[in-house]
Every structure is written in structure tokens, then in C-alpha cells.
């Protein structure tokens, strides 16, 4: 057992997964990778370096960072986004729920990269633990989170300057480049000083920053910035008269930073300008400065290139924290689930649908408890009872859990899945060649083509829209064959009689049954209880939606009266 915390209220110790892993402190780190246990460069470093060099020299109109992250490699994953992303509305989930708030404002994310990270959770559980440890540390240490946000904001400024998005400094190239170098120094210093006490993978930031600070390129950078900011110090005495005007101006002392390696004598500076002119450059102090700036940048580019990947990593964690803040601001707690074995119970408390929350609807949390994970759960109940929303919630929870971030539940015990396949109701397409039965069969076919063993399967209204007896036959076939793959399956159906028969006969192993819990007035409570629903409450739904017999008749009479009224007036 572990000590309970807000993120682990039950105090469960992980059974199957290893302990939280932190990076060895103060070992020199070449890559400040925050997503993988073994640090690696996922962007194309050589291409990015070239692009960054050109951007530094000339200033591009944006896209350097997002292009590199779009092409970045993702940690190995058996999940395929095309099997679930569309049905879970992930393209809108990321920008709506993973909001990065830093520095008092909302940041603009590299959405494509975040989408890729979330839809390709890692195979290696150690990576999940590595990421969770970082999130725990950021959640529990406000100072650490403040440094994390400060680092992110500085990286954003660096990105803005080097991509030349705002157009600032285009009139003075050297001034722009010095500002970029100044921001690079600020980033390195922030990494070295802000994360020295980190115990999780955040310690890599400190190790990386310290390594760079001890290198010659960083010292040259510091000297160059010092040369730019403080070539000399003048002590002045200014006399001011009674009228407030300056009467006298005396230079008391002049101190030149002669020890700075960039400081040369006046005649040498002149000769350097002439030398550059003869070599084909323009004549002037700016060209001298440009050469020195370029030399300093060249020494740092192997380290600066990692800023591109780092900003994506930071957005991943800040997005997750933003999701937590967003949910908790609506009174909905989130957590990092406990990882358990497949045969252990699935226990989820306070589960809610974040898509509803993203659209401004406060969801009603529910609890879910199944005796083991590798089962097929049939869910029945009236329409608009919350079945589809439950499916979305379960699927999103599994997705976020395996990505290593917070899930929309107060607490959870979950096991890992090798993949996720989600199929909600298919909408009719104008070019479809089959009827509803044919489309449903194609859907089933596609399911089995992409379904690996030990995956999570989410199916909404399997075999609906067909003749009930044939549909039930197909339903039983699908459910029976599915068990061979040992999935974690959640399937909704309106075949109530058939479902009740399955529950009673127990002829298919590993089936479990949940039904929508109803209030005494037959209204759905959006909670779920074991068992099969007895009715779809069609009449109640009809009455609620205005399609009962009495309501329809009233409508018809009203329309007839409307039609007859002009004829009576003429008569």
C-alpha cells in the first residue's frame, strides 16, 4: 500500500507495473526528453538545425517548430488513431480540453503534435510511469509548476523571435539575433536553476541546463551578451541647477570590460571592418557583430535544436494540467489511475464525459465497477439514458490513462490495453452502396480486421437497424467470437429480450451486464447498475419528446384547423 494522495486516494500500490522511475540526477544529459524513459531525439535534428540556422540568419514567417513537431517520431505504440479518433471527436477534444494556461493567458498549442502523442500511447509501461511521475511532481509542487510554466513561456518567446512571426527587429538583424541568444540563455538558466530539486524526469532539465552552462559555447554566449550590454561603464557627475536644467557634466571614470574576449582595440576593430569588406561583406560594425553572433550561435545549435522537441513535451504536460484545472474548476476531480492486472476488478469512481464538459454541459459523474477487465459488458437502457456518453467516457479514460495523463474520474483502477477500437452509430452517407444491414456488416468486418488481442472495444448499438431475430443472431456471433481476443469490450444494445436471455443462460463466457439506473419517475439518473433493462421506456421518451398518441393527434387537429380557417373567413 502507498500513502493516499489526492491523485491516488485509495492508496493502492501498483501490482503489475514497476515503481515510479526518476532519471538519475546530475548525469550529463544530451537531450532534455520528458516523454520517454530513455532520452531520445524524436525530431529530425539535422533538418531542424538547418531550418533553425536559416531562421536565425534571415527570420522565417513561422512554422519551423510546428513543422518539425509534425514530422517528429512518436514512441512505439500498437494503437491506431484511425480506429477511434474520429468517433471520440479527438480533434476537438485536444483544443477544447487540453488548454495550456500560462503567464495569465491561454497559449496557442501545436495541436497536431499533441493529437499524435495522445492517440499513440506508448507500449512500454515504464514510459507511462515516467510521465505520471512528472505530472505528480508538477501537481504537488506549485514552485515546480511555476518554473515549468516560466520555461514554457520563455520557449514561446524564443519561438516567436526565431520564426519572426511578429516581425519585430526585422529592421536590425543583429539586435534580433542578440535577443534570440538572450532568450536561449534564459531558457538554459531556467532549466539549470528551476529544476535542481526535481525528483522525477524533470531532473533531466536541470542536468541538461547544467551541462550546457559548463560548456564553452555557453560561456561565449554570456561573454557576447555582456559585450553587447556592457562594453564599458561610465561614472558620471551631473550638476543640476535650481531651474532643473543640467549645468555640468563630468565623466569621473570609465571602465572598459577589457577582459571580455570580444573586446578589441579601436585600431583592430577598424582593421577587422576592412578585412570583412575585402572578404566580400559589407563595411561596418554591424557586419563584425553579425560574424561574432553567428559564431556563438554555431556553438550552441546542437543544444538549441532540442528546444523544438522540448516545447512539444512541455505542452503535453501543461495540456494535461490544463485539463485537470478545467475539470476541477467545474467541480469534477481527475486522477492518475492505479495500474492493475487484467484479472483484477475495473473500478472507476466519479467517471464523467469530458466532451460534455468541453461544450459547456456539466456532466453527471457515475461509478463503474466490473469484477475483471477482460470481459464484454452489455449495456442496456432507455434512449438518452447516457449509454453512448458512458462509452465515450470509458474510451477516453482508457486513452488518457495509457498516454500517462489524468483521466476524467475521481479514482480508477485500470489495466493496459493493446489497442482501442471505437465504433459509434454510423451516419448514412450519400454515396453508400449498402442498406443499413449491409453497412452494419461492413462495420463488423472492419472491427475484426483492426482488432488486436487484449484491446478495448467500444460498440454502440451493435446490429441495430436490422430485423430483430437476424440482428440477435449476428449479435451473438460477434460477442462469441470477440471473447477469443480477450478484449475489454463495452457494447450497447436495444435487444433487451435477447440480452436478458444471455444473462439468464450464461452461454457466453465473460459477459457482464449493466443497465441505466432510473429514478422512481422513470427518468434516467445517468448512473449504471448491474443487470439488463426491462424496457426502453419508449413511451416515456415519446412523451418527453412530444410523440405520444395524444400529442400527435393534437398536432394533426391543429394543422387541419389552420388549413380550414381561411375558407371559413371567405364564406
Amino acid at each position: 500500500m502507498q500513502k493516499p494522495s489526492s491523485l491516488n486516494p485509495a492508496g493502492f500500490a501498483p501490482v503489475h507495473a514497476p515503481a515510479v522511475v526518476a532519471s538519475p540526477p546530475l548525469d550529463p544529459v544530451l537531450v532534455p526528453d520528458l516523454l520517454e524513459l530513455v532520452p531520445s531525439t524524436r525530431i529530425d535534428a539535422e533538418q531542424t538545425k538547418i531550418a533553425m540556422t536559416i531562421a536565425f540568419a534571415a527570420g522565417t514567417s513561422g512554422g519551423l517548430f510546428s513543422d518539425a513537431l509534425d514530422r517528429a517520431r512518436i514512441p512505439a505504440s500498437t494503437w491506431r488513431a484511425e480506429s477511434f479518433a474520429k468517433d471520440l471527436f479527438l480533434q476537438s477534444f485536444v483544443p477544447l480540453c487540453f488548454k495550456v494556461r500560462a503567464g495569465g493567458g491561454e497559449a496557442s498549442l501545436t495541436t497536431n503534435y499533441l493529437f499524435k502523442l495522445l492517440t499513440s500511447p506508448p507500449n512500454n509501461p515504464s514510459i507511462i510511469h515516467f510521465r505520471r511521475a512528472i505530472l505528480v511532481e508538477l501537481s504537488e509542487s506549485p514552485e515546480m509548476r511555476r518554473q515549468f510554466e516560466r520555461l514554457y513561456l520563455t520557449l514561446c518567446r524564443f519561438r516567436g523571435q526565431i520564426e519572426g512571426v511578429r516581425g519585430h527587429g526585422k529592421w536590425d538583424a543583429s539586435r534580433r539575433q542578440l535577443e534570440i541568444l538572450g532568450l536561449a540563455k534564459e531558457i538554459i538558466d531556467c532549466m539549470a536553476q528551476g529544476f535542481g530539486s526535481a525528483r522525477s524526469g524533470l531532473a533531466r532539465l536541470a542536468a541538461f541546463g547544467l551541462r550546457v552552462q559548463q560548456s564553452e559555447p555557453y560561456r561565449s554566449l554570456t561573454d557576447l551578451l555582456h559585450y553587447d550590454e556592457r562594453l564599458a561603464t561610465l561614472n558620471l557627475k551631473v550638476s543640476v541647477g535650481a531651474d532643473g536644467r543640467i549645468r555640468g557634466f563630468d565623466v569621473i571614470a570609465v571602465q572598459e570590460s577589457t577582459e571580455n574576449p570580444f573586446v578589441n582595440s579601436v585600431w583592430r576593430r577598424w582593421l577587422a571592418k576592412i578585412e570583412l569588406f575585402v572578404r566580400g561583406y559589407r563595411f561596418g560594425d554591424q557586419e563584425v557583430m553579425a560574424r561574432l553572433i553567428q559564431a556563438v550561435f554555431d556553438g550552441l545549435e546542437d543544444d538549441i535544436v532540442h528546444f523544438v522537441q522540448l516545447i512539444g513535451d512541455l505542452e503535453f504536460y501543461l495540456g494535461a494540467l490544463g485539463f485537470r484545472d478545467f475539470a476541477e474548476s467545474a467541480g469534477l476531480p481527475v486522477c492518475l489511475p492505479e495500474i492493475v492486472a487484467r484479472e483484477k476488478p475495473r473500478v472507476v469512481e466519479g467517471l464523467f464525459n469530458p466532451l460534455l464538459l468541453a461544450h459547456g454541459i456539466k456532466p453527471v459523474p457515475c461509478d463503474l465497477q466490473i469484477d475483471r477487465h477482460d470481459t464484454t459488458v452489455l449495456i442496456t437502457g432507455p434512449n438518452s439514458g447516457g449509454k453512448t456518453r458512458l462509452l465515450q467516457s470509458v474510451a477516453l479514460t482508457q486513452l488518457l490513462f495509457q498516454a500517462g495523463v489524468f483521466v476524467p474520474a475521481r479514482s480508477a483502477q485500470l489495466t493496459l490495453a493493446q489497442g482501442l477500437v471505437v465504433s459509434l452509430i454510423e451516419e448514412a452517407k450519400p454515396d453508400q452502396s449498402e442498406g443499413r444491414l449491409g453497412m452494419e456488416m461492413m462495420r463488423i468486418r472492419a472491427l475484426f480486421e483492426s482488432l488486436p488481442p487484449d484491446a478495448m472495444v467500444i460498440l454502440d448499438e451493435l446490429c441495430s437497424g436490422t430485423n430483430p431475430s437476424e440482428g440477435e443472431e449476428m449479435f451473438e456471433l460477434v460477442v462469441t467470437v470477440l471473447t477469443r481476443l480477450k478484449p475489454q469490450a463495452f457494447i450497447t444494445t436495444h435487444f433487451l429480450t435477447f440480452a436478458a436471455g444471455l444473462e439468464r443462460d450464461r452461454r457466453i463466457s465473460d459477459l457482464r451486464f449493466l443497465q441505466v439506473a432510473l429514478a422512481p419517475n422513470h427518468e434516467p439518473t445517468y448512473q449504471f447498475a448491474p443487470g439488463v433493462a426491462h424496457t426502453s421506456l419508449a413511451r416515456h421518451a415519446a412523451a418527453r419528446l412530444g410523440v405520444s398518441r395524444e400529442q400527435l393527434q393534437a398536432l394533426v387537429e391543429h394543422n387541419i384547423r389552420l388549413t380550414q380557417a381561411p375558407q371559413n373567413s371567405r364564406a
Binding site: N260, G280, G299
Partner: protein
């Protein structure tokens, strides 16, 4: 390749990167072309700079050489001047000015005939005329300014007037005057043997100023080879031997021909009816010894002699008139 942008304070790695930045060398191909572009530009600039530098160098060298040659030429002429000056004793820079002053004075409104007390007769005149003297004759308009004086002096030679003044003929008749006129006309030893102690004013004007500072200043101010050569020629052709004699002159003898009077003819040699101002000045004592104004008219001369020797015969007759004027002095 090292660069002046680096120094010993820099870390070697930084120094290498600065050198690479300056030379445009990079590991990737994207900037290799930049290096070759820079190299081409640098080559062009070095080439142009080299051509301009060579041109400027050649121009400056030519100017320096020309200047050196001018200075050498100038120094050579100055050396000549100093060498010549070194052979003189008692050099009087005012000699020329003094003579010119008397001439300018005599050319003004005529003050009337004058004979000094020390010239009571022709014998006294002869004594005076034995002293070293300067002689000049010319149109009176020439004697109103220094340049005119120099011009008149260069055109004025020892003539029959001077010869007859110093060595008068036996009578004033044409027959007696004619040998003197011929001698004056042809010049040469027939004049010089009687006038060796008399120098032309031109001898003084041509040589003496070249030995003093104003001319040396003109030489120093000359900034072209041509002008220096001109001055050098002037110096080398100056009659310094005659100038030395002229510089020791004590007497100034002059005759100023006034404009033609009347409507009579003008002879082939320019002689016509006109007045002549004659002057003898003791320049050493700064006294006028003689001032006369006589009329000449070649009309009296026979046709044969007049055509060729009118001026000389009139000149000799004029000298006789001057001598006669002394004889009639009371």
C-alpha cells in the same frame, strides 16, 4: 585562415567558429556556395582594390618623381645663382631701380633745360663722359613704366648719338657726321672702341635682378618643369660680365624721343621731325648734370644719306647740338 575578429583572449573553439563564420565555411552544402560567393566577391574586391592601388601608387610615384625632378632643376638653377652671386663684390640691388627712377622722372613734364655748374664747358663734359656710364635711348612713352624701360633698354644700342657725344666729329656738317653715322649704324668695334666704359642699360636690366631675392622667389614659386627651364635659360643667357660693368656705372646718359611734330615725312629708319630730351645724371651723386631738349628734323640731310642714315646723322647732329649748348652756357 585567421581573422582580425579574433584575439588571444578567445577560447580556441570560439576562435575557430569565428574564423569559419568569416570565411563562410560550414560543414553543410547550404553555406558552401556562400563561401564560394564570398570568395568570388572578395577576389573581385581585392582585384579592383589592387588595380586602384597600383594606379594610385603609379600616379603618386610619377608625381613624386616629377616633383623631385623639378626640385632638382630648381636647386641647380639656385646653385647657379649663388655661384654667380659669389663672384660679385659690392652688389647693389638698387642700381636698376635707381636708374629707372631717373628715367621715370625725366619722362614726366619737361622741367626745362639745365646744365650743372660742374659742366661749364665741353671739356668738363668730356671728363664726365670718361666715367663709367649707362646709356639708353627710346620713345618717351616707354620711360613711363618699368616694363617700358626694360623694353626700350633691350632695343637700345650704342648709337651715333652716344658716339658723337663722347667722340665728336670735327664739324656739324653732313660730311663730317656721315662716318660717325655709319659707325653708329653698323655698330661693332667702330663704336665700342670709343664707348668701352659705357654699358647699355639693358646689360644692367638683364642681369642684375637675377641675382636678388625677388627673382629667386619667382624661381621658388615655379611649379612646372617648363617654367623652371625658362628661368634657367634666362639666367644662363644673362650677360653677367656686361652686367658687372653696368652695375659700376656712375653716369646715366639717356635720350628720349618725343612724338613726331609737324606733318613732315618719316624716313625709312623711322626718323622724323621731333623733339628729343637728353639727360646726363650722376647716379652715384644723385645729381642731374645736364637736361636739354633739342629738336631734330632729318629734312636737312641730303637725299642720299637720309634714306639710309637719317636717324644716325640726326643723332650725331643732336650730340653736336648738345655740346654746342654747353659752349653757349654763360
Amino acid at each position: 585562415m585567421s581573422t582580425l575578429l579574433t584575439n588571444r583572449k578567445m577560447n580556441p573553439a570560439l576562435r575557430a567558429r569565428v574564423e569559419a563564420s568569416v570565411s563562410g565555411r560550414r560543414a553543410n552544402g547550404a553555406t558552401r556556395s556562400r563561401a564560394s560567393q564570398l570568395l568570388l566577391k572578395a577576389g573581385l574586391r581585392v582585384g579592383i582594390f589592387g588595380v586602384v592601388a597600383v594606379g594610385v601608387f603609379a600616379f603618386v610615384r610619377a608625381r613624386v618623381r616629377e616633383h623631385r625632378e623639378i626640385e632638382d632643376a630648381r636647386a641647380a638653377v639656385l646653385a647657379l645663382v649663388r655661384a654667380e652671386r659669389g663672384t660679385w663684390t659690392g652688389l647693389d640691388p638698387a642700381a636698376t631701380t635707381r636708374s629707372e627712377s631717373w628715367l621715370l622722372l625725366a619722362a614726366r613734364a619737361y622741367e626745362g633745360d639745365f646744365i650743372a655748374e660742374t659742366l661749364p664747358n665741353t671739356a668738363a663734359l668730356a671728363t664726365v663722359l670718361e666715367r663709367p656710364a649707362l646709356y639708353v635711348r627710346g620713345p618717351i612713352d616707354s620711360f613711363t613704366h618699368s616694363a617700358g624701360i626694360a623694353e626700350a633698354a633691350s632695343a637700345s644700342a650704342k648709337d651715333a648719338f652716344l658716339l658723337c657725344l663722347i667722340d665728336p666729329p670735327s664739324s656739324r656738317e653732313e660730311k663730317a657726321l656721315l662716318p660717325k653715322a655709319r659707325a653708329g649704324y653698323s655698330g661693332g668695334s667702330r663704336v665700342s672702341q670709343h664707348t668701352t666704359h659705357v654699358s647699355r642699360l639693358h646689360d644692367l636690366e638683364a642681369g642684375l635682378p637675377l641675382l636678388f631675392y625677388p627673382w629667386e622667389e619667382e624661381l621658388n614659386a615655379a611649379d612646372t618643369r617648363t617654367s623652371i627651364e625658362r628661368l634657367e635659360t634666362k639666367f644662363k643667357t644673362a650677360p653677367f660680365a656686361a652686367t658687372k660693368r653696368a652695375a659700376h656705372a656712375e653716369i646715366l646718359i639717356f635720350a628720349m624721343d618725343e612724338p613726331k611734330t609737324g606733318t613732315g615725312p618719316t624716313e625709312f629708319d623711322g626718323e622724323c621731325s621731333h623733339d628729343v630730351r637728353i639727360g646726363i645724371v650722376d647716379v652715384a651723386a644723385a645729381k642731374v648734370l645736364l637736361r636739354m631738349r633739342k629738336h631734330v628734323d632729318p629734312n636737312w640731310i641730303s637725299d642720299g644719306a637720309r634714306a639710309q642714315f637719317a636717324k644716325e646723322i640726326d643723332g650725331c647732329a643732336l650730340a653736336m647740338d648738345v655740346r654746342e649748348g654747353l659752349g653757349r652756357k654763360k
